[in-house]
Every structure is written in structure tokens, then in C-alpha cells.
């Protein structure tokens, strides 16, 4: 193109140049190394520091991990095996402990023969969530449904679930999957059955108790819908009707029905809960209950009615201002004082209540963010169409706000799930400290510090990391989702 310098500026390229490979230093492993690890004095120093850290960590942990023993009956035996295999003075991990006691980390003191019940309850959770969380992509939903079904069945079978139970499970799950695929909207409503099924599976006893509780809910709903004209009054009536049902009728009817058709599972009492069964029970119950409460609090906090707003703000700020552990102490120390003399209810339930209140305050803030993210025009359009406050919230505002808030909700859940370990301080057997301490208190496993922590930590990591990835996936999708 030497003619640029000539007087005439006109120029036209006759032949296009083909692309050429970059100069050698610009490609291949060398370039990668240079650009990513050694691109300047600072970077070289950083690389060296990084290598140093890796070296230190591997040097400290590596031998210990590689000298691990999986087959032994006690710590002493472990040490002996390590000394024999790798020489005197060698240290090693004794994962035999995990092999012996894994069930306690996972199930606490839950009766061994019934391990399949928590597994089933946990598996069903994914089935119940499928229409909710994976509603957008049919492929993701099917993968989740299928995986949850297969895994639950396999694990239950491995854990010696009785044959009839397995068969029943398989049929119920297939039917559910069919419902989800065929009629997604009713399936959403039917997901409400899950909590009751889970409670029945976990605690056992007569199915009729849970069924009657559910019936009360359904009745309240019917009363409300039936009298919808009366507005808030209908709602109050519905509450009264449901309460009357639960307090007066549910008990006798359940007993009578149980007499006719005893659908009973062996009862398991709360003090047998422990380990991850306890954590997940508290975590899931807490999140499920805190979500509606959080929605109400968020709406209250955004309300124009000063009294309601102030109450909501006070509640939220109070809960967020004190550590969870003090609330747990309240649950274990003071809650009984607040209730009528003589009431005494399950400590797990009390902890769930406190965790729910705690999570609800955080949830309310997350949802409030979602509500604030909606343009004002949405409210105005709803108003202009003549929708009243509750209809507008239910049909227009909340569906959108909740969708925006899902990532925040998931991270609240992760935080709460991690916090379930704190129940150890009120005497419950969390997987992390209480279970490790219990196992360590036995003569065989005295002195095993790292192995339980590694095992429990790994499980927590997998669960929490999985959830955080899911929420990131959602966040990305919501961002691109211009619908």
C-alpha cells in the first residue's frame, strides 16, 4: 500500500489478505505461560508465592491423606497399621472412623432399620420442588425428576427398605412425575402435600394425624374461596374454621379413621434425630416456613400503613440485630416461659420456629429487594385494571418479585443451612460438633479430630456449593431472560 503517500488518495485492494498465524511467541503453551503466569516481575513473584502455598499445603496434608486407613476398628488399630505400613512416626488419616460411623453423621440416632424413611423424604423434596424450581426448562426438570427418583430408590434399597415400601415409593413417584409432566399447574398446588408427607415419613405415627392437619388447611382454603366476596372477613372466617377443625375435630376423626384403616409407620421421637437428618429437617422446614412469612413481612414493610410498617421494621431489625445463637438460647431457655403454663413442645419444633423467624427476617429483606426492583408501572396497571391490593400482589407483583429474588433466597437458604450447626449449643446433635464429640467420647475413637471434620465439611461443601451454583445459574438465566 505504498501509494498512500502519493498525491492521489484513491486506493482499492485487489486481493484480500488471508489471515496469518500469530508470531510464535503469541501462541501455544509458551504464550499461555507467559501471559498467565510470568507476564511481569509482580506476576512472577505472585506465581512463586502461589506455588509456595500449594507446596506447603500439599506438603502438610498430602502425606497424612495418602497414609489413610480405611479398615480398622479403633484409633489404636489405625495408628498401628500406619506405623506398620509407612514406618514409625508416620502420620495418617484414619477414615475407618467414617466407615464405621458414617451412619451417625448422616442419620444421628435414627433407627437403623428405618434409614430409608429420611432418604425417601429427602428424595421427595426434589420431586416436590421440580415443578417449582425447574419450571422453565423441561429438560432440566426431567433430569432432576429422573435422577431424584432413581437415586432415592437405589439408596433406599441399599439401606434395606422393605419391599412393599420400595414398590409403593416407585409407583407414587412415577405417578407424581406423570402429573408434573401432564398438568404442571395442579402439580404446583399438589406440592403443598409434601410437607405433610415428609413429617409423616420422618416422625412416623399415624398418617391420619398429618392428613387431618392437611384437611384443616384445605378446609380453611375452601371457606375462604367460598366466601371470597366478604374479603378480609372471609379470611378471618377461614382461619377460625381451620383452627376449630384442628382443635376440635381433627383429633377424634383421626383416631376414628386410624381405627378403620391404620396407616401407621413406626414412630421415631425427636431425640433420635441427629446428624444431617436433623440439619436438613431444620433447614428445609425453616426455609419453607420462612418464605411465606418473609413475603408477608416484606409486604408489611413496604405498606403505606404506618402501624404495620413500623411493626414490620421493628421485627425485622430486631431479628437481624441479634445473633442466631441468642435466638436459639431463647428457644431452649425462654420459649416455654412465653407459653401458657404446662405447654411443652418438642425442642426441634422450637428450634424450627426460631430458625424460621430468623430466616424470615432475612428473607423479607431479599424479597423487599425484589419488590423494589419492579417498575411502578406494574402496580399502576394492576390498579387501573381494577385489581384490589391482594389480587394485584398475588397475580402480578409477587410472581415477578419472587422470580427476581430466587438467587437471594437461595443464598439465604445456604446461610441458614450452615447455621443449623449451631443447634449443638442447645443440646441437639448436629452433624459437626455434637456428633463428632459423641463419637470421639467413645473409647475406640478418642483422639480423632480431623477425620470427622473433613467428612462433615465435605458434605456441607457439596450441598452448599451445589446450591450456590444453582443460584448462579438462575441469576445468569434471569439476566438473559428478556421475556
Amino acid at each position: 500500500m505504498s501509494d498512500t503517500h502519493s498525491e492521489t488518495v484513491a486506493f482499492m485492494r485487489e486481493t484480500m489478505l488471508p489471515p496469518q498465524p500469530p508470531p510464535l511467541a503469541q501462541s501455544g503453551a509458551i504464550r499461555w505461560l507467559r501471559e498467565n503466569l510470568f507476564s511481569g516481575p509482580l506476576n512472577i513473584a505472585l506465581t512463586l508465592v502461589g506455588l509456595g502455598i500449594v507446596w506447603l499445603v500439599v506438603g502438610a496434608v498430602g502425606p497424612w491423606l495418602t497414609h489413610s486407613v480405611w479398615n480398622a476398628g479403633s484409633m489404636a488399630e489405625c495408628r498401628q497399621i500406619i506405623a506398620e505400613t509407612w514406618g514409625e512416626g508416620a502420620t495418617g488419616a484414619c477414615f475407618a472412623l467414617v466407615k464405621h460411623r458414617w451412619n451417625q453423621f448422616l442419620f444421628g440416632f435414627y433407627p437403623q432399620a428405618l434409614y430409608w424413611r429420611p432418604v425417601l423424604a429427602f428424595g421427595l423434596l426434589f420431586l416436590a420442588l421440580a415443578p417449582l424450581l425447574f419450571s422453565e426448562s423441561a429438560r432440566a426438570r426431567r433430569v432432576v425428576l429422573g435422577l431424584a427418583m432413581v437415586l432415592t430408590l437405589v439408596v433406599s434399597a441399599v439401606l434395606d427398605a422393605p419391599g412393599p415400601a420400595l414398590a409403593g415409593m416407585a409407583v407414587a413417584m412415577l405417578a407424581w412425575a406423570a402429573l408434573v409432566e401432564a398438568r404442571p399447574r395442579p402439580a404446583l398446588l399438589a406440592s403443598l402435600v409434601y410437607p405433610f408427607a415428609a413429617v409423616w415419613l420422618l416422625w412416623g405415627g399415624s398418617l391420619w394425624t398429618e392428613a387431618m392437619a392437611l384437611a384443616g388447611l384445605a378446609m380453611g382454603f375452601l371457606v375462604w374461596r367460598g366466601l371470597a366476596r366478604l374479603g378480609l372477613f372471609a379470611f378471618a372466617l377461614a382461619v377460625v374454621a381451620a383452627a376449630a377443625w384442628w382443635l376440635l375435630l381433627a383429633g377424634p376423626i383421626a383416631a376414628a379413621l386410624a381405627g378403620v384403616l391404620p396407616l401407621r409407620l413406626q414412630p421415631v421421637s425427636s431425640d433420635q434425630f441427629g446428624g444431617f437428618v436433623l440439619s436438613i429437617t431444620i433447614g428445609v422446614a425453616g426455609i419453607a416456613l420462612s418464605l411465606p412469612l418473609g413475603v408477608i413481612l416484606a409486604l408489611a414493610r413496604r405498606s403505606d400503613l404506618p402501624v404495620i410498617k413500623v411493626l414490620a421494621v421493628m421485627f425485622i431489625e430486631f431479628i437481624r440485630g441479634v445473633p442466631l445463637i441468642t435466638l436459639l438460647f431463647v428457644a431452649s431457655l425462654l420459649l416455654n416461659y412465653f407459653l401458657p403454663p404446662g405447654t411443652n413442645f418438642d425442642v426441634i419444633l422450637r428450634v424450627i420456629i426460631m430458625v424460621t423467624l430468623f430466616a424470615a427476617a432475612y428473607m423479607a429483606e431479599v424479597i423487599r429487594g425484589g419488590l423494589a426492583g419492579l417498575p411502578k408501572g406494574q402496580y399502576e396497571a394492576a390498579d387501573a385494571l381494577g385489581l384490589d391490593y391482594w389480587k394485584a400482589q398475588r397475580l402480578i407483583i409477587l410472581p415477578q418479585a419472587l422470580k427476581i429474588s430466587i438467587p437471594g433466597i437461595v443464598s439465604t437458604f445456604i446461610g441458614m443451612f450452615k447455621d443449623t450447626t449451631l443447634v449443638v449449643f442447645v443440646g441437639l446433635y448436629d452433624p459437626l460438633k455434637a456428633m463428632s464429640d459423641t463419637i470421639r467420647a467413645s473409647f475406640e475413637w478418642k483422639g480423632a479430630y480431623w477425620e470427622p471434620y473433613i467428612f462433615v465439611g465435605a458434605i456441607f461443601f457439596v450441598l452448599c456449593f451445589g446450591m450456590s451454583r444453582y443460584s448462579m445459574y438462575l441469576e445468569r438465566r434471569l439476566k438473559h431472560d428478556h421475556r
Binding site: 440416632f109 431425640d271 464429640d437
Partner: protein
């Protein structure tokens, strides 16, 4: 209020018993969650007496910090968690200690190679101590009285105390001598640790109930005495059925409900004590099976022998 607890327990068909979160020999769950130990045996006896079934106990593990509140808030019906009977607890905390099942005292355990043979030589030492216990107060008083200094390391549970002591994070571990023995017994090398001779406090341990429900207190108290008296009169879980028929010792007859229906007076049936003793044996049997010299804990009876043997165990007369 008056008489409520018994009704509640019966209605619930389970006894809520507050126990240690894990102290081998006194109360600890095994791999399957079955509880056993010295305090647990008392719970079983009480449940047998009241409900007729030693298994109808719900064990509520309570920490040193939560135990009294658990009792006063009604979460547990009886607290059998090696707790010391003190003035303040009995009065201000509104508890009722219903008797003593173990006479203990606070001691120190140190490593042999520390070269210490008396607690008086512990000036400047670091001492592991469980928070929320009387030992914490005794320790402060003892060092103050002897004009010594110490550095406390606060721990939350016995398991943690063991860990810290074993790692050498404290020079001495102090708690009730029985607990020290239990802890020492669980070490791989018990011979390398010694329990110092000084006992710096009186630690009468016993079950406690809430203030105010005297009938329930009576039941709890006399169940304990039944266990102790049974040992005194030679009633064991093995010979009890036979003695119930054949014994002509009037005291035994009253105890086992063959004559004089003492049970009625406390709202139970005649055979309550018989069931309590059958649950895990008399006091001596329980002691021997859980913490006695044949067990890894290896505690001698000492002060806890029957008064007839020169000890302090003295059941009030069943009359």
C-alpha cells in the same frame, strides 16, 4: 403447680430426664443412641416406678449452661446430670435437690512428668475448666485463699476438656474427682496421669426437680432412697421377686409393697419400688455396673459406701 408433674408424665407416658451431653460412666449415648450410665440408671428407675417401664424415658441432653433452665422451664421433669447441691441453686434458682447419689469433690489431674504432687504447687499453672459449673467458682476461691495465680482455659464440654488437656493446652484439668477418674480411664495411657490428693471442695451430686411440686419431689426422692435402701437390705435385682414373697424383714416388706401400701401415699401403686429396683438393680449394683472398680472408670466406693460400711449413703427409713 402442686401435683402436676406426675399427671403430666403419666399423660405423656414418658419421663423427660435431663442428662449430661456425654460423660462416660454417668450418661452417654452409644453408637445406636442408647443411653447408659450412673445417672441414666436413676432415670430408668424413676420411669419404672412411675410408668412401670424403664424404657419410657426421653433423655434430654443438657449442657452445663442450659441444665437449670431446662428444668425450671419444664423441659425436663427431673435433672440427673451430676449437679452439685448448693445453697443458691436450692433457693435462688428455685430447684429442689431430692438427695445425693454421689458424694464427690473437686480435684485436679496432671501429667506425671509435670513433677507436681500437690495442688499447692500449681501456682501460675494453666487450668482447664468447664464453664457454668461450681468448679469454676471453687477454683477461683481456692487459688485466692492460697494466694496463688492461675490461668483458666474455659471449655464447654468434657470432650473438649479432654482434647485440650491431652494436647497439653493446660497443665491441669479440674472437675469433680469422679469425672477426672472417668476421663483418666478413657486415656490410652492412664498411668501417665495422676489425680492430685487435694480435694478442694465438697461436691454432693444429686438429682433435682423443680421447686413447688412437692409430690413429684417426694417420688423422685424416695425412688433414690429405695435404691439405696435396697442395697442396705440386700435386695438386688436378682433376688427381689423372691424376697418380695419370702422376706420377713418388715422394712423390706414395706419397701417392696408386700405390706403397708407406701406407694399410695405418693400417688403410685404398691409395687413402685420393686420396679425401680428391678430396672437396673440397687444402688450398689448400679454403681458397680457403671462406674465401679470393675469398669474402665474404676471408682472406689469411698464416701459412697453404705453407712453401714463406713460411707455416707444413708437411706431414710421406709416407714
Amino acid at each position: 403447680a402442686e401435683g402436676d408433674t406426675l399427671k403430666e408424665v403419666k399423660a405423656r407416658d414418658a419421663l423427660n430426664c435431663g442428662v449430661n451431653t456425654g460423660l462416660i460412666g454417668f450418661a452417654a449415648p452409644d453408637a445406636n443412641g442408647n443411653w447408659s450410665g450412673f445417672d441414666v440408671s436413676y432415670c430408668k428407675a424413676l420411669a419404672a416406678a412411675v410408668l412401670g417401664d424403664a424404657t419410657k424415658v426421653k433423655y434430654v441432653p443438657v449442657t452445663g449452661q442450659t441444665r437449670f433452665t431446662a428444668l425450671s422451664s419444664g423441659e425436663v421433669d427431673v435433672l440427673a446430670r451430676n449437679s452439685t447441691w448448693t445453697f443458691q441453686r436450692d433457693t435462688d434458682l428455685k430447684l429442689d435437690f431430692i438427695g445425693i447419689n454421689y458424694y464427690d469433690g473437686q480435684g485436679f489431674m496432671v501429667r506425671k512428668d509435670l513433677g507436681v504432687s500437690s495442688a499447692k504447687e500449681l501456682n501460675g499453672a494453666t487450668i482447664c475448666i468447664q464453664t457454668g459449673t461450681t468448679t469454676e467458682l471453687n477454683l477461683a476461691d481456692y487459688f485466692k485463699a492460697n494466694n496463688m495465680e492461675y490461668q483458666p482455659v474455659n471449655i464447654d464440654s468434657n470432650a473438649e476438656g479432654e482434647q485440650q488437656y491431652m494436647a497439653g493446652a493446660c497443665d491441669a484439668y479440674t472437675t469433680d474427682a469422679s469425672g477426672l477418674a472417668a476421663t483418666r480411664a478413657s486415656f490410652a495411657d492412664p498411668e501417665n496421669h495422676i489425680i492430685l490428693p487435694e480435694i478442694i471442695s465438697k461436691e454432693p451430686l444429686g438429682p433435682a426437680v423443680r421447686h413447688g411440686d412437692n409430690n413429684w419431689g417426694d417420688i423422685a426422692r424416695w425412688t433414690l432412697y429405695a435404691l439405696i435402701a435396697a442395697e442396705e437390705y440386700g435386695v438386688t435385682s436378682a433376688n427381689i421377686d423372691e424376697l418380695a414373697k419370702s422376706s420377713n424383714n418388715p422394712e423390706v416388706q414395706r419397701l417392696l409393697g408386700t405390706t403397708d401400701e407406701l406407694g399410695k401415699m405418693i400417688g403410685l401403686d404398691a409395687e413402685w419400688a420393686r420396679r425401680a429396683i428391678k430396672a437396673s438393680g440397687n444402688y450398689g449394683e448400679i454403681f458397680a455396673a457403671t462406674i465401679g472398680e470393675q469398669t474402665p472408670i474404676g471408682l472406689a466406693r469411698g464416701l459412697n459406701a453404705q453407712w453401714t460400711q463406713g460411707g455416707l449413703m444413708y437411706a431414710m427409713p421406709f416407714r
